[in-house]
Amino acid sequence: MLRTLIVKEIADTALGLRFIATTLLCLLLIPLGMYVGREDYEQRFASYQEKHQAYRQRHGTPEPPVIGQEEAQGFRPPSVLSIFASGLDPFVPDTVITSYTGVFRTVKEPDIDNPQSLLFGKLDWLSSITLIVSLMVLILTYDAISGEKERGTLRLIIANSVPRHRILLCKIAGKYVAFLVPFGISVLIALLILEASPLISITSSHIGPTLLVILGVTLLFVLSMVCLGVCISTFTQHSMGSIMLLFLAWALFVLGVPKACPILAEVVHPLQDSAGIDFTERMVREDIERQFEQIKKETIDPEYRAEWDAMMRENRNKAQIEARLRETGREPTEEEAAVLNRDINRAQAIIDKRNEGANRLAGECDTRIAEALGRIEQDYQNKRDAQSAVAMNLCRISPVSCYAYVVSGLTGTGVTEPDNFFRNAQRFQNQVEDVFYDQVAWRLGVQRRAEGFDVFDPPPFPDMEYGYPTLAENIQAVWPDVLLLGLFSVFFGTLAFVRFSKCDVR
């Protein structure tokens, strides 16, 4: 009986106008989105390679002599999986520019030459599933129970001693399998389009496993939508009521909750504007530098000037004594001999002493700046994390948000990618400091140079090795959302069962 019911459900769904519309939309939009995503990725990758090559050829090794203004650059390669979800990719910086000060800066080259695409957004895999597929699934399933009740066939089925839970299960299974046919075909076409690219191989080790996980999670999401549609259907007496409730549920889950919850999080946990942070950091750095400049002016410089003046006075004195002795032709007195024999050529020693003092001060200045900026960044980071956690937890009311977090997390374009970028950037800054900046630097007008470093033959800058999180790390980050998707399916199914069990089928 179970098989009969499932086959009946599949046939019912497949022979309707809605199924044809769903099939057409899936077959059109999913492969087209994948094709355009692939073309876009190929262009971005080519652009990244050209920029990187041009940089290495022209600025990879600093031009001698090193003058303290060199800046090593690192470039972020596009993630191949960003074809599936553009996510935050358009907003994450492209380039890291390191600096002697220890504070790197990031650059995002604005891409405003396709404003229509920016205005309406891309139809990538994530948008297709969350916007189009979710709506299609709900349209296919909204009258699963209420429609049968209206037509009078529900009581006939129950009159055949079919348990209610079995009816519900068959409805869910039948609708799910029926939807998977056009969906599966369109996904297959999309994957073939992807495989046709010379840059992408879906069976490769860094794409294949993640792709399987994405497909698995997508199937789980579609199941949760089917369960939601059937659940909605059990709450109403007529199809019309179902469609109203469907409209509300879809608007809330797809549009309302994902957009409103980050707003609520901002209200609950307001954050200083990010450019305000940059401004504060700049001010703090300049203040500290000014303070140390003042200390140098008040301590090291006067001492240096005093010693230098003393040396110059002694020089003049010695020259005067020598001139007097030449004029008079007499022998020097004991006092004069002492002056003449004194080693007054201590210019280098005075300079070295000043440099040593300035170096020590410069080191303290650097440490103070790094501590102060680190504190500001940490504070901002903590507040941002708190806000992000509230936003994420609020958004998780909607299965659409959970699905978006999972897919964007797996593709390297999710809410944690900006942090990943900054970690990579910091690592690169540290790497360049070890190889270059710590070997030679200018601070407070004084050059510091490590032993063995030749400013006329500097080493080449290292390359930035940008690391995206591994699949294991991603799964560890997104498993709550995967679990939630499963729970949503169970929840909607259970709710549907409870309602249907009490439902009056007459």
């Binding site: 405003i112 396709n114 229509q116 409209f247 309302g256 700049r282 809410v415």
Partner: protein, 482 residues
């Protein structure tokens, strides 16, 4: 009779569950979206003012250092009307950095802000209208005809000798008026939220007139959506078929066509990425510059050799001054020649690229105009200064700024580089201590020029209303009311 029909329609709609749902969604999302847009605008304005003030403080009067390294910065202020439509604003550069060599570049703040908002998109006024209110319009109107047919009241109305045209008009006006109630209520709350901002005033000349136009066009768009819903209703025999058709058509018009058209245009007419084009331009400029340095050195070497002077030295001695005086006009002419060559080469590349961008853009816009949602979005974003024309407007302002800085500063200093030595030729009266970097006077299109640009979309919105009405009228006349 028409008044009775309209009143009946308004009453029926208001006492429906759908009206409650639509009201709830409007009253929650529209003011909330306006609040967030207002806070976002205030933040951006504060940032703009802060950065501008800091910049002026650092670079007040006088230019220090090498003129080659002088990068004047111009800042783009946020458009106050971007509260209504964020459009392409999130992607626009914040500033322009000029350069001595004529190749300005643009930069954008790189911190990402609220990542969840970026992932799911903003809830501005345009989003609320195109997604929530338009869907509400369809949901309120989808069973206008098919529902009455199912309940049997349609034939009763017609049996009372009510012309079909009046029935249609009554439904259209009644449902439209009913839709306007929650929309205007939520809009009033949203405007009160907006007016509470110290930085924004609805009545100001830069916001008021444009806002009235936006409001009028929103009314036209919603009228079109109600007409569409009624039109769909005349094509279906049952309410269930109506709603499915309505949702499918809505998904196509609001989601499918807007996102697919730029993709299709890209497929039909692909264009190189801008960063690749900028890279190529940079490489061409560098190559021409290298040639200039080589030519300058060659010229200097020739003249110095003729004067029996060492080529790797510079000095203020009399014989060097004589040779330098002979070189000055030749250097100026060479510099002028290479500048012109560089400018022409870059301009050619830029024009070719812009032409291709323009063709692709035109294709995307025309493909997307099948959907009234796209036409409405183009209209409101253009009026808000965040539309598809804003990138071109930005580049125009950037070029004007580059030219202004060139006229005031770069054009008054000729830099002569001959391998290891760099010399400067200053124009008469140039004093780097008293000159100051000019500000960028960024201008958004006026209301008149925006309207001149978007009139095809306004016309299309009106035509959509007429088309849907005509279709509905024709279908209703043939509609079997039994």
């Amino acid at each position: 009779m028409l008044k009775t029909l309209i009143l009946k329609e308004v009453t029926t709609t208001i006492f429906d569950l759908r009206f409650v749902i639509a009201t709830l969604l409007c009253v929650v999302l529209i003011p909330l979206g306006m609040y967030v847009s207002r806070k976002d605008y205030e933040g951006r304005l504060a940032r703009y003012r802060g950065e501008h003030a800091q910049y002026r403080q650092r670079h007040g009067v006088g230019i220090s250092g090498n003129v080659l390294e002088v990068e004047a910065q111009g800042f783009r202020p946020p458009s106050p009307l971007s509260i209504f439509a964020s459009g392409v604003d999130s992607f626009m550069p914040d500033r322009v950095l000029t350069s001595y060599w004529g190749l300005y570049h643009t930069a954008k703040e790189s911190r990402t802000g609220n990542t969840h908002s970026l992932l799911f998109g903003k809830t501005d006024f345009v989003f609320c209208v195109t997604f929530i209110v338009s869907l509400a319009a369809l949901v309120l109107s989808f069973n206008a005809i098919s529902g009455e047919r199912e309940t049997g009241t349609l034939r009763l109305m017609i049996a009372n000798s009510v012309p079909r045209g009046h029935i249609l008009l009554g439904k259209l006006v009644g449902i439209y008026v009913a839709l306007l109630i929650p929309f205007l209520l939520s809009l009033t709350i949203a405007l009160l939220v907006l007016e509470a901002s110290p930085d924004v005033s609805i009545a100001s000349p830069e916001i008021g007139p444009a806002f009235l136009v936006i409001l009028g066009l929103t009314g036209l768009f919603l009228f079109g959506m109600v007409t569409l819903g009624i039109c769909i209703s005349t094509f279906a025999r049952t309410s269930a078929d109506s709603i499915v058709l309505s949702l499918l058509i809505w998904a196509t018009l609001a989601l499918g066509i807007p996102k697919v058209s730029p993709m299709l245009a890209d497929v039909l007419y692909p264009v190189e990425r801008p960063d690749l084009v900028n890279l190529k331009k940079g490489l061409v400029a560098e190559d021409i510059d290298k040639e200039l340095v080589a030519e300058t050195k060659k010229l200097r070497d020739e003249v110095y050799t003729r004067h029996n002077l060492p080529v790797n030295m510079a000095s203020s001695a009399q014989e060097f001054k004589k040779a330098d005086a002979e070189l000055k006009p030749a250097f100026q002419s060479l510099l002028e020649q290479y500048r012109k060559r560089s400018a022409e080469a870059l301009q050619r590349m830029e024009q070719d690229y812009r032409r291709r961008i323009h063709v692709r853009s035109l294709l995307a816009v025309n493909l997307s105009r099948i959907s009234p949602v796209c036409s409405y979005t183009y209209v409101v974003t253009a009026l808000s200064g965040t539309g598809t024309g804003e990138p071109d407007n930005f580049l125009r302002n950037a070029q004007q700024y580059q030219d202004a800085v060139k006229n005031n500063i770069y054009g008054k200093v000729a830099v002569i580089r001959t391998g290891g030595l760099t010399g400067y030729l200053y124009a008469d009266g140039y004093d780097h201590r008293s000159i100051s970097l000019p500000d960028m006077a960024y201008s958004y299109p006026t209301l008149t020029s925006a309207l001149a640009e978007i009139w095809p979309d306004i016309l299309l919105l009106a035509l959509f209303c007429a088309l849907f009405w005509a279709l509905a009228f024709v279908r209703l006349n043939k509609y079997d009311v039994r």
